[in-house]
Every structure is written in structure tokens, then in C-alpha cells.
């Protein structure tokens, strides 16, 4: 039986690891290579590394650094941030990345999704969708590169991304990011009910039961940042990951 994946999601900024809250106030949490080594030893299901500044500053991925990450990862590595062309995706695959995650370029022009999928297969491509609630509390499509809420209907956009060739959808509840306050379950349910490819939910995990609830709501995989890098009420940096037996007991084998 297929396991539901539990995926540490690490944020990269100026070559260091950071953790944000609601997508702002990045706090330095350590050296990425060290963190990746620890996650590798803990046999995590998969690892996701997102460069949160690349698209904001129109910068390409930091290939040298990502290559070092890949060399330490004996599990699948997904990279996102600053990818604007098939050639960049190709270079990332060639240095050891399994999947690329695309958001900003896909919002600008969905054809990049189709191009990457046609060359490398849709299993190699994650489309990242950020959702932020507007003043009325309605979930809206959000662009993390510009910090703006967009007009396009998010469900229509999700469907379009899958039709264009996304192999997985990463859905991120911006308002829950880094809060450890639990996931946006209605959002996950809504997304899962219309998403024909695996759905990775992220944003708000603060406990193992939050992960279970997201899986119950329809997520194929659950990603978390703060939950795996912080410990205790004062948010001391400590890298953790549940033991395999714990996850099996939680989510079934």
C-alpha cells in the first residue's frame, strides 16, 4: 500500500535556511547542508527546498548549492524557486533534483508547465499554488513573488495547472505558514476534491494529528516547515522528524 508522504519543506534565502510566518519575517534557522544531512539520516520520505527570494529578485536557481543538496539526499528532492525555462529545469534534473516546483512562471504563463512535462514527464513537475484569504475570509490565489492576491479563481487555476501537465499540486495556506496552528482543512478538502493528481498540502502543521487530519481531508502528502525545525514554545531550532513506526501508526502502513 502506498504511504502518505510526510515532507520537510525547507526555505532558502541567501544560501541559508530560514523559516517565515505567514510568508514574512524570515528567521535564520541554520545551514542547509547540515539540515539536509540530518533529514537524510532520519530517512524522511522526501525533501522540498524552496528558494523564497529567487523569483522576487528575478534570479536563477543557485545550482552549485542545489547540487550539494542533491549529493546528500538519498531520498527524492524537489526544488522550487526562480525557474523560468525548460533549460533551467533540465539543469536541475541533471545535477540530481527529482522534481521541480514552479509557481511564479506558471502564473505568468502556464505553457512552461506543459513544456517541462512534455520533456521530462509530468511526474517531474509540481505546480505550487499559494492561497491567501482576502479581507472577507475567502480563499484567493496569491503570488508570493509580488505579494499580491490575484483575481483568477484558484480552483480554475488548479484545474488548468493539472490539465497543463502538473504531476502534483502543492497547495500552501499562506495564513497558516509558520504558525503551527493546524492546517486549513476546508481548503485541502476543496482542493483534493477537484485535483486528479497527488496533492501536497502545506501550511500550519503543529502536531502529528494535524498531519493525520490533512490526509483524512484528502492530501496525498503533507509538507511542513516549522514543525520539523522548531521545538518548544520558544521556537528553539531543533531538526526533528517522526520515526517510521510513528508515521505508520499514525497514517497506516
Amino acid at each position: 500500500m502506498l504511504k502518505h508522504r510526510v515532507v520537510p519543506c525547507l526555505l532558502l534565502r541567501k544560501g541559508g535556511l530560514v523559516k517565515t510566518q505567514k510568508f514574512v519575517n524570515p528567521k535564520y534557522v541554520g545551514d542547509p547542508i547540515n539540515a539536509i544531512r540530518i533529514f537524510n539520516e532520519k530517512e524522511v520520505d522526501e525533501l522540498m527546498v524552496l528558494d523564497i527570494e529567487a523569483s522576487k529578485t528575478n534570479r536563477e536557481p543557485n545550482y552549485d548549492l542545489i547540487e550539494q543538496f542533491a549529493g546528500e539526499c538519498f531520498m527524492p528532492l524537489c526544488y522550487g524557486g526562480g525557474i523560468t525555462s525548460v533549460n533551467q529545469a533540465k539543469r536541475l534534473f541533471s545535477i540530481g533534483v527529482e522534481k521541480v516546483s514552479i509557481q511564479t512562471s506558471a502564473l505568468a504563463n502556464i505553457s512552461l508547465v506543459t513544456e517541462v512535462a512534455s520533456f521530462f514527464g509530468n511526474q517531474s513537475l509540481v505546480v505550487s499554488i499559494d492561497i491567501k484569504k482576502n479581507l472577507l475570509g475567502h480563499p484567493k490565489l496569491y503570488s508570493s513573488a509580488t505579494g499580491k492576491i490575484l483575481d483568477q479563481d484558484w480552483i480554475e487555476y488548479l484545474k488548468m495547472a493539472v490539465a497543463a501537465g502538473a504531476g502534483e499540486i502543492l497547495i500552501n495556506a499562506v495564513d497558516r505558514d509558520g504558525t503551527l496552528s493546524g492546517m486549513d482543512l476546508p481548503l485541502i478538502e476543496h482542493a483534493a476534491s477537484t485535483c486528479s493528481v497527488p496533492l501536497i498540502a502545506v501550511g500550519g502543521v503543529g502536531s502529528l494529528s494535524d498531519i493525520k487530519a490533512a490526509v483524512k481531508a484528502g492530501a496525498s502528502a503533507v509538507a511542513a516547515g516549522a514543525f520539523f525545525v522548531y521545538h518548544g514554545p520558544h521556537r528553539a531550532v531543533l531538526i526533528t522528524y517522526p520515526k517510521y513506526d510513528e508515521l505508520t501508526a499514525l497514517l497506516g502502513s
Binding site: 502506498l2 530517512e43 520520505d45 514527464g121 485535483c195
Partner: protein
């Protein structure tokens, strides 16, 4: 020398990293001469079936791989590499290498199934016959998968292992010196390390 076949598709660095991790030596090459002098071959690959066939053909590697297989050189196909060892795939129209009598079909799940395609993630691999790669000693074997098409072997005897996704499918096959695995041993922690080590020791 073990050669990882470079035909412009796939995550060669990951396979290279894993071989180094378990203490092996290898080179990455798409040069027919390097392949012809190899002691073992790994055919990795991600992407679409016809694209893979075209790339192998363009480099003149089709006859080379067949020749090495006939000579008894151990060959391991991973993911798309496994698919290319077979006769054909529903995904494409071109013929594969035909080293294993199998074809690849898209997962056919019930409409109400909660399972999605592609099959992505960690799943159990159940060994079906004695083989040198994956021990059948009762220990759990789990590997990372990411694919939409799966093998259907014409000969039951070629099925090395099965995995359940909606229904059981052949997640690994082998005939004599030719092996194919649908999952990614290079990305499957200690389970993959052990398998790759076993292949190096063949």
C-alpha cells in the same frame, strides 16, 4: 567498469551519488565504445517512452545494449530505463529494446478510487522469486515510486517483485542478466543502497 548510460534523459547524478555512497566505481557515458567495454550497465531515465527510444537510437545505443545483454553483462533499468527494456508501452508508439517480454500499461483505476495517477511515493515491494538484488527474507522492502505506466509481463517467471496500487503490478522484473525496477533505488535510503550494492556485487 560499471557504466551509467547517458542518453540525455534522467537523473544521472542521483544514480552516481548512490553508487559512490555504497563504495562503487562508475562512469557516466553515452559513447557506444564505453558501453561495449563495460562490466555492467545501468539504464536510468525519466521522461516519456518514445523520447527515450529516440534518444537511445540517436546515439546508436540500441544495438549496443542488446549486444551486451546477449553477452551476459548485467543490465539494470531504472524507471523509464526499465520500461525501455520491454517490448512496448501504451505511452508511445515505438518499440523498446525487447529484452524482457513485457509491455507497459497506464494504471487503470476505478473511477471511484481515491488513488491518483501518477503513483508517487513510498510503497512496499514484495519479492516473487529468488534473485540476487532484493532479498526475500521477510524484512520489509519499501522504495520510492513515481510513474504512470506499469509493467505487464508475458511470462510470470520474469516477475521479480510486485507492488500494490489499486491492484498488484510487476514493480521489478528480471530474466537472466537483465533487471528492471520501476522504483528509484537511488532515492530509497537504505533499501535502495542495499539493492544497488547487490547489483555492484553481481
Amino acid at each position: 567498469m560499471l557504466v551509467i548510460i547517458d542518453y540525455g534523459l534522467g537523473n544521472l547524478a542521483s544514480v552516481l551519488n548512490m553508487i559512490h555512497k555504497v563504495g562503487g566505481n562508475t562512469i557516466i557515458s553515452g559513447d557506444p565504445n564505453d558501453l561495449l567495454s563495460a562490466s555492467k550497465l545501468i539504464l536510468p531515465g525519466i521522461g516519456s517512452f518514445d523520447h527515450g527510444v529516440n534518444q537511445l537510437e540517436a546515439l546508436g545505443l540500441f544495438p549496443v545494449i542488446k549486444e551486451m545483454a546477449a553477452k551476459g553483462i548485467p543490465i539494470l533499468g531504472i524507471c523509464l530505463g526499465m520500461q525501455l527494456l520491454a517490448n512496448r508501452s501504451e505511452e508511445g508508439r515505438l518499440n523498446g529494446l525487447g529484452l524482457i517480454d513485457a509491455e507497459f500499461k497506464r494504471f487503470s483505476l476505478e473511477i471511484k478510487s481515491p488513488l491518483r495517477i501518477p503513483h508517487v511515493g513510498w510503497n512496499h515491494v514484495r519479492v516473487q522469486k529468488y534473485n540476487p538484488l532484493i532479498p526475500n527474507d521477510g524484512r520489509e522492502q519499501r522504495f520510492y515510486f513515481t510513474h504512470s505506466y506499469h509493467a505487464v509481463c508475458a511470462e510470470e517467471a520474469d516477475v521479480l517483485a510486485t507492488t500494490e496500487y489499486g491492484y498488484p503490478f510487476a514493480s521489478a522484473f528480471c530474466r537472466n542478466n537483465v533487471f528492471g525496477v520501476q522504483f528509484h533505488p537511488e532515492k530509497s535510503h537504505r533499501f535502495g543502497m542495499e539493492m544497488i550494492k547487490n547489483f555492484l556485487e553481481l
